[in-house]
């Protein structure tokens, strides 16, 4: 079974992020694999393994032909990658991104299943996976906490607030997975060495048959006018215990309506 995994390469969250003049995140340094995508990569590897073989292919969109994050996923065991890198994509919105990734996925022959994270750790729109499914006209299941494939059908336990739904969809399909779906493996040294020589198909927007003048800022139809820092957290309330602290805590919790 062939699985495609959408992976995002993002600035290292451990480093303080910086913004460009147009208020978008600076992405000109080394990028790393978004941790939330490592779950999809692991899920894909396990599904291909359980099916007795098949390739796991990564699809990514990043500036400057950046492959550092892809190499991490290749070191985990993915076979190859398609990377869309094009200056025209600067300022791309979620829908543009979905169109570009969908076009990139079409370059992968015989994809039975497409996996994505529920949302990225830098953009957080949480809309791209379903938009890809819509563009490709595929069934999609969101928030998977468990995924199985059998007889041309993907069976998913979809996380809900109160438990989970049992869902099924015929393949090919797109599934977005949560961080609870599987525990990602650590890449081995052998995997890291092997990743060096795994193929990364680097393509431009034009290579995908899309119009460069219709994507990025041009396609997004939006402008980031201003960015404000989030308000700092207010200092908490300190309760001095004068024999009635427990009462005050109960009142506080009652006020939050958590009791």
């Amino acid at each position: 079974m062939n699985v495609v995994v959408c992976v995002k390469q993002i600035p290292d969250p451990a480093d303080p992020g910086a913004l460009e003049e147009d208020h978008t995140l600076k992405r000109d340094g080394k990028l790393i694999l978004d941790e939330s995508d490592s779950y999809g990569v692991e899920m894909a590897l396990q599904l291909a393994d359980a099916a007795g073989g098949g390739d796991v292919t990564l699809v990514s969109m990043a500036p400057n032909n950046e492959t550092s994050g892809l190499r991490t996923a290749l070191a985990m065991g993915a076979a190859k990658a398609v990377l869309v890198s094009d200056d025209a994509l600067s300022g791309a919105g979620a829908l543009d991104t979905a169109k570009v990734l969908a076009a990139a996925i079409k370059r992968v022959e015989g994809a039975d299943l497409i996996l994505a994270a529920t949302e990225s750790s830098d953009g957080y729109t949480g809309t791209v996976p379903e938009q890809i499914a819509a563009v490709l006209d595929l069934p999609s299941v969101t928030f998977a906490k468990h995924v199985e494939v059998a007889d041309g059908t993907v069976k998913v336990q979809r996380q809900t607030e109160s438990g989970f739904d049992e869902c099924e969809a015929p393949l090919p399909a797109l599934v977005s997975v949560t961080a609870g779906v599987v525990e990602p493996r650590y890449p081995s040294f052998k995997g890291i060495m092997a990743a060096k020589s795994k193929p990364v198909d680097q393509v431009t927007v034009a290579d995908l048959g899309l119009d460069p003048s219709a994507v990025g800022w041009a396609g997004a139809g939006q402008e980031i006018v201003d960015v404000s820092p989030a308000p700092e957290r207010q200092a908490g309330e300190v309760i001095e215990d004068e024999g009635d602290a427990h009462q005050k805590i109960v009142e506080f919790l009652d006020g939050l309506k958590v009791l």
Partner: protein, 388 residues
């Protein structure tokens, strides 16, 4: 001249650091307190490929260079010496003798499990009355002509990884010259004794000052019989074999010490910035700041010596003196660094709430195991041509 690691070495270092921080650090204090040898974590280290790093892929290894192994040991040691020594001994003393001196059949038989971390091997050199004077080995192995088996009698002391649930073998040194007891050099050979062989008694775990989560036992051999094909390398070459094994091990132990020094530096600087005394962070006082500066110098000098020795070995150049210098300096610096870090942490450095107290207890053995500081000075002196 180039001080940079390769991109792949840097990537792998980050993986091992993540593994150490996520899978080892949160449990290290409890393992230390309860003297737990965490088999599942050791297996997970095996899944990561750590135990097979420097061995060829045909035996289940990763064909890395020796420097990469040192990086892995250094990173594990930043959070826990017990797991770092489990790795160092598993590779350097368990698998390495089989790889270096074993026949093809012996390699095929024993290495795959050791490389995968499914099994651990120990190296039985030290005896109750033969430590630095390893030539004074008293354990004997006699080839019984009738059964074609080696019959082993004697005792070994302080053998790492010799009594775990996954220990598969211990390679021992033994005198194989029963006829030449008087005069002349004893003939010493190395023999592989599979775990569970009748006649090999694994004694209760030692009560140690540190390395509480590392497995260490004495071994007693009484009429212990193994097949003749368990002789590792040539008969009579045991002394030369273990000297070669110890050269590699010294660099690896030095890498372990380096990880500890780095951890002391990192944690001391962070503490000195946040802990206040007399209204200011303690790092604003020279008494503390200068200790941190000294820790930084210790980390850098140790790193230079360790990586140079590892690099020399990877280049196939002589590295005996470099290995002895790296081990001598890095381990003595580690003892100093852990003592100073404990001082910076004050009372908190003496309680188990902070890792530096564990680092302090763990570090003293570094000046003793796999060649004492005195033996390193002897090796260096002899390399200088002195008749000592």
């Amino acid at each position: 001249m180039d001080f940079d690691l390769t991109e792949e070495q840097e990537s792998f270092r980050k993986v091992v650091r993540d593994f150490a921080v996520n899978e080892i650090a949160p449990h290290a204090e409890a393992w230390d307190r309860d003297h737990t040898f965490p088999v599942d974590t050791v297996r997970a280290m095996g899944d990561l490929g750590l135990f097979g790093l420097p061995f060829p892929e045909e035996y289940g290894g990763s064909s890395s260079d020796f420097t990469t192994l040192c990086l892995a040991i250094e990173e594990i040691a930043r959070v826990d010496q017990s797991m770092a020594i489990t790795l160092e001994a598993g590779v350097g003393l368990g698998a390495n003798p089989i790889f270096r001196f074993g026949s093809e059949a012996q390699r095929q038989r024993w290495l795959p499990d050791l490389c995968a971390g499914r099994a651990l091997g120990g190296f039985g050199l030290t005896e109750p009355e033969a430590g630095s004077d390893a030539g004074g080995t008293r354990t004997r192995a006699r080839l019984d002509e009738g059964s074609g088996k080696w019959v082993i009698d004697g005792e070994k002391a302080f053998i790492t990884n010799s009594g775990t649930a996954i220990t598969s073998l211990v390679t021992i040194t033994a005198r194989t010259d029963p006829g030449r007891e008087e005069g002349g050099k004893p003939e010493i050979s190395t023999i592989v004794v599979p775990a569970g062989t009748p006649g090999m008694g694994v004694q209760p775990a030692y009560r140690k000052m540190g390395w509480h989560a590392s497995d260490t036992h004495g071994l007693a051999f009484a009429d212990c019989r193994v097949p003749s094909d368990h002789l590792l390398g040539e008969r009579g070459r045991g002394f030369a074999n273990f000297l070669a094994i110890l050269d590699d091990g010294r660099v690896a132990i030095a890498a372990l010490a380096l990880g500890t020094i780095e951890a002391c530096l990192e944690q001391s600087v962070a503490y000195a910035q946040h802990r206040s005394a007399f209204g200011k962070p303690i790092g604003s006082y020279q008494a503390v700041a200068f200790k941190c500066a000294d820790l930084a110098v210790m980390a850098d000098t140790a790193r230079s010596l360790v990586y140079k020795a590892a690099w020399l070995k990877d280049q196939g150049r002589p590295f005996k003196k470099a290995a002895a210098m790296a081990k001598l300096h890095a381990t003595e610096a580690a003892v100093t660094a852990t003592r100073e870090a404990t001082q910076i942490f004050g009372g908190y450095g003496f309680i188990d709430e902070t890792p530096v107290s564990r680092f302090y207890r763990d570090s003293k053995i570094l000046e003793i195991g796999e060649g004492t500081s005195e033996v390193q000075r002897l090796v260096i002196s002899r390399q200088l041509g002195l008749p000592v």
